[in-house]
Subunit: 370 residues, 2 copies
């Protein structure tokens, strides 16, 4: 088996677990930083590992278009190409095809789309998505799915959900040939609880080594997202890891963990860092704000990250205002450290049966504003 899972302990619905792969163990709840193009933007692999990152996500759609999956296979696979020897999860490209491609045509056999880089036409079938991920050599791979926008009609969501199930089955068939990678299932169904339940039940029947919740955090209110998670979790087996795709704000992470989810990924911490926004227990600071011009304190006096140990808000503001790359490195470093540390604290509280207190304390401190 390319992947094994165990729950170390749980506290109400929240779980502390362990995902084992041949490249390393991931303690959960875990946050996976995103390395869209084969690099977590601004960061070196060593820096990520120093922070405690145990797994990253990379995007099949982007790597397939540039530099190409065959080239990466020639280089010895994605791990070697990018100098990252811990686990990598790749998505299938489905989400990007539906969010980035300027034109696309969905048929039962697959989806035709245009490159957002040069406009060239490409075709992804469920089988092709698996083949591309085999070339990349990632540890956890995803089936091609059809993602619907928010809002969308019940009928649209139902058809896409059903097609995603048929495509998942085809991905599983194609994947029989390779047992080096763990193929998860992706639950779809928009914001309709009965469709989500149906999708979950069908995928669980196929017995994947892990289940992802897709198609959320696409513009729906957070309450809808939490309701949808609650409509799914009761139908998921305890003995498989659960992965909420595309979520990375502290509030959504803690709400996901509270509802029994284990794995998360999002561009949020790295993207907002490049926009001068950094995470603190109270929410977010925008370091370009004039208030910080002569503020010689670190971003967060209680933070032990490299950035907070050596640099002031005033220096970071100077770097960001002057468009200096070191500014983007330092804010990114802090945000990733913040989330990795946040997940570790949640895990700790679960193991000590104090998750409820941790949750209360979080909401006492955190203000969503900014």
């Amino acid at each position: 088996m390319p992947l094994s899972w165990k729950v170390i302990c749980s506290d109400s619905r929240a779980r502390a677990g362990e995902v084992k792969t041949s490249r390393g163990v991931i303690e959960t709840p875990a946050f996976m930083p995103v390395g869209t193009q084969g690099t977590v933007k601004t960061m070196s692999p060593e820096e990520l590992q120093d922070i405690g990152v145990k797994i990253i996500l990379s995007n099949t759609y982007h790597l397939y278009l540039r530099p190409g999956a065959e080239l990466i296979a020639e280089a010895g696979g994605l791990h070697k190409f990018m100098h990252w020897d811990l686990p990598i999860l790749t998505d299938s490209g489905g989400f990007q095809v539906f969010s980035l491609s300027p034109l696309r045509k969905v048929e039962e056999k697959g989806v035709t789309f245009r490159s957002h880089i040069d406009g060239s036409t490409h075709f992804f079938s469920p089988e092709k998505a698996i083949e591309v991920q085999e070339l990349l050599g990632s540890d956890i791979i995803m089936p091609l799915d059809q993602v619907v926008p928010y809002p969308c009609s019940y009928e649209e969501a139902r058809e896409a959900m059903q097609r995603s199930i048929r495509w998942a089955a085809r991905c599983k068939d194609r994947h029989q040939k390779s047992k080096q990678q763990a193929l998860f299932g992706i639950i779809q169904g928009g914001i309709f609880p009965d469709l989500r339940e149906k999708s979950t039940r069908e995928l669980v029947k196929m017995n994947f080594p892990g289940y992802a919740i897709g198609g959320l955090s696409v513009g729906e209110p957070k309450e809808s997202m939490y309701n949808i998670i609650e409509s799914i979790v009761p139908f998921l087996p305890d003995d498989k890891p659960r992965y909420l795709m595309g979520v990375g704000s502290p509030d959504a992470l803690i709400e996901g963990v509270k509802r029994g989810l284990d794995l998360f990924d999002c561009v949020l911490p790295t993207r907002i860092a490049r926009n001068s926004r950094v995470m603190v227990p109270q929410g977010y600071l925008n370091l370009r704000n004039a208030d910080y011009a002569r503020d010689f304190r670190p971003i967060d006096e209680d933070c032990s990250c490299y950035t907070c140990r050596h640099y002031s808000r005033a220096y970071l503001r100077h770097l960001l205002k002057a468009n200096e790359i070191l500014g983007l490195r330092l804010t990114t470093h802090h945000n990733i450290h913040f989330l990795i540390n946040f997940m570790a604290e949640m895990r700790c509280s679960i193991k000590e049966n104090k998750f409820e207190q941790f949750y209360e304390q979080f909401w006492h401190t955190f203000k969503v504003a900014t």
Copy 2:
């Protein structure tokens, strides 16, 4: 004395020496990477120190305009502000006033110029240049000088040279108040050997702890630059370090060392790195070139830098084509390592009395093309 100097040994005119400051020893010949805005672009201080960088240069003009010298003084000085505890040399702002400011008016009392950032009007006198550098707290400081463009008339070069000498005297007077910093003299005189000789003789009379050659590498042919250096060096005392400003190509560095110079700075290695160009013993490679798309070798198989130990040309090309910041970090890292290592090799060859062989070997391998 804030600075001491000794020649360890010399080989013909080339010298291996040691500059001692209260913040550390600089073995020469030495190259100083440039951190224009209080950061060597893309790099962390730890990375620079790992490479072996012992001193960096930062630009008074830029820091004065943004974030402001008073702010840096409030932060505890430039070293603390930017988290760099080894020596820093700051220039006086003279070169930038004459190359970056859209409008300027030179009078005997000083120079009025406009900010290249927001167009605001500022005035620098020789005294003010020293005061700003005191606020920054750098270890080696420079007097305000008047730089002439290339080409320029003899008369223009003569007047600017003479004014620079008068300004140097005023800087020295103002600097008497502070003995924490070492104030060098800057030799001017365009491409006119007699003006350069005159400038050198006058400055040497003032007894500075080090002498810089300014106003070169501003567009003149390299042969002119080498001739000018030769018209200066005979009039410089052996017992002071000699600094060639704004030079950083391997060919010009070796020609400078051959002519008895010790210190060098330039944006070249970092700037070309951000333009995808990397240094190799043969010259330069442009990593965006399609030839490297499937080239899985490092930039230089004999290089021991972080980039060459872990990444292929193909991966670097991918990062650069995809505008990924890690690409700029890795090429910058390599180029700085290349020059630091190159200076160390020159020093070694001088100490072994093999500089001439090193020089021959260099020119046997190096092709200026690209």
